[in-house]
Amino acid sequence: MNRPELQAMAEQELERQKKFRCRVMCCTSTACVSSGANSLYETLKPKLEKLKEDVEFVPTGCMGLCGRGPLMTVQLQGQEPVIYENVTPELALEILDKHILAHKPTPIKDKVLPNDWPFFTKQTRVVLANSGAVDPERLEDYVSRGGYSALAHALREMTPRDVCHELIDSGLRGRGGAGFPTGLKWNMVRKAAGDRKYVVANGDEGDPGAYMDRTLMESDPHRVLEGMAIAGYAVGAEQGYVYVRGEYPLAIKRLEKAIRAAERKGLLGSRVMESGFNFRIDIRIGAGAFVCGEETALMASIMGKRGQPVIRPPYPAESGLWGCPTLINNVETYGNITPIINQGAAWYSQIGTAKSKGTKIFALTGNVINSGLIEVPMGITLREIVFDIGGGMVPGRTYKAAQTGGPSGGCIPTEHLDTPVDYESLKALGSMMGSGGLIVMDNTTCMPNIAKFFMEFCMDESCGKCVPCRVGTMQMHRLLEHITNGSATEDDLKRLEELCLLVRDTSLCGLGNSSPNPILSTLRYFRHEYEAHIREHKCLAGECNITEVPVLELAEIKHKTVEVS
């Protein structure tokens, strides 16, 4: 397929879509599926099958407000789309009757999400532009919205150097968490000597509560593939790998389908769009190790080795897969490529702050009213995210902190709610941007207990290669266990702090280095909660079960004490 053919395909698809009086979009992402989207789909499908000349029924990706799924959008020709929440099969039939088929269409008012709601208006959907609007399993739908035109443009009008410099100018930084300038990385790989190079998309998203990459791969897989193909062209690679964790079967299925469809149309594979550029993409499925999100461990896993990090340097840009220069980016980073190529670096760099450009997807979860997947411009304040988009706390509860960056990040308390969300500001608060998990906690959450939760995660996910991470995380977890069950002493707290520094400074890879962050940041802002557990044997949030006493106190209360296990 060449460029005119691509254009023709887009026009043909738009023409086809215009014929319908109504487009009904039903979210089929994992979040909505888990709240019953499948039965909704099964109920509606036979009904709408009969109306297929009139109504187009589209299974789409994520619409964002995952906490109120299943979501369904009804768009009558020439009208604003209407989004319904908590759509049960019964409600769907009612919507069908009163909104879709009725002569005077009347939306079911109390189930409609208002379009001017801050949840929607405060967002800037660049990467998620197609998410919830296109059928992720139909290439034509993606193409009709400008899909693969960025690749076509890059291949025809731009040199690899141009592409890299466009990215440098855009100010895009890696969305995996560390925020390395993407353009610089691409340029390094482009300049690296080597006949064979690789492009890798990191979709091994493992943070508890984070599902940005999953959603992107499920909702708009072609965008990721197109971004990777442009990367392949820019750095001179002919082979790409998407590394997806095995827990994402739907993402894997849709990526597989998308790769096949793109290859069939000559958008991937040999002689991409009839140019001299060849690019194949294969999927590698992870086996459930968080550490494989670390780039060197990920590459080891792709090569069929034990998923353990190795020491950098050499960086993957010099020596990665099978010793060849390798470009590794997060899935979301690849999602940013097509808008930058299509609309230009100047447009892109208007969004965001001086040092952090563009938008960031967050998985907003925890004790907020509206939990879901959001995309916001960099520089938005945390207060806007939590209270405007998130709708604030459940009545009667107050905000305590938000955890960004998952088990590698830290918490942000009330006094810093007005901090702009960008790489540097979050780092200055002892947290980090991370890949985009954002867990909101209210006054019923005990901070030492949260630290324990994250530490347990790090302990379970430590690969075991280096001593500080392997044993240090376990000992930190034990100390937190003692603190939360009431048996810790002041000495234990001191030991915990010392261990945090050891593990941070001496671990081999990022997993270990950052694992003490949840403790360090909760100690920084909520030290009194730790001290209350230790000095008064009391959990201020009322969450912990104080069942033990420090061993020395057993001498006095010896008859109460020893639970025989």
Binding site: V551, L552, A555, K558, V562, V564
Partner: protein
């Protein structure tokens, strides 16, 4: 009489091997007797740990409630507490029971075979409760010096004790602190 150093030795969860090694001081015992008065020890048959102890050598790991009580008393009533031997310092062999639950352990040892010994967790006031986990001494009370070894050799003990008698610190050189 009063210018003598008040020395105590105590025996928690251990095999008493450290005390045996202590007796191997042989002629140094005479030097020790000149400088110190033994105010409490399993080899001196005193019931109550006295007040105003200068140096207490504690053998064995903390394995039951009685050990906790005694350690607490030792700490409160002694100027210097020395963790004496590997069981006190590391838990050593005593700590190996931590991999079993207390009940399983008592059942296996006293009830699975013939006999029906008290289980050690009834409030009978005779058998002290076993702690769920055996702990080295310094994880229960603050400890001022460590003399590892299983047992510490008589030379090592003398080096430590004579240093303490001179008011100096217990040696911490490589050869003085190997475990085992």
């Amino acid at each position: 009489m009063t210018d003598k150093i008040r020395l105590a030795t105590a025996w928690l969860g251990g095999c008493s091997g450290c005390h045996m090694s202590f007796l191997d001081l042989n002629e140094h015992l005479l030097d020790l007797a000149k400088a110190a008065e033994l105010v409490y020890s399993p080899i001196a048959d005193l019931k109550e740990f006295p007040e105003g102890v200068d140096v207490a050598l504690v053998e064995g790991a903390v394995a039951n409630i009685d050990h906790v009580e005694l350690s607490k008393k030792i700490r409160a009533r002694s100027k210097l507490v020395v963790s004496f031997g590997d069981c006190a310092v590391t838990g050593n062999v005593t700590i190996l029971r931590n991999r079993f639950g207390v009940d399983d352990l008592l059942t296996a040892v006293y009830h699975a075979g013939p006999g029906a010994a008290p289980r050690g967790h009834d409030p009978d006031g005779i058998i002290p409760y076993l702690l769920p986990r055996v702990l080295p001494l310094h994880q229960v009370i603050a400890v001022d010096a460590y003399v590892p070894g299983c047992p510490p050799s008589a030379d090592r003990i003398w080096a430590a004790v004579s240093a303490l008698l001179r008011g100096e610190k217990v040696p911490v050189e490589e050869e003085a602190i190997t475990f085992g």
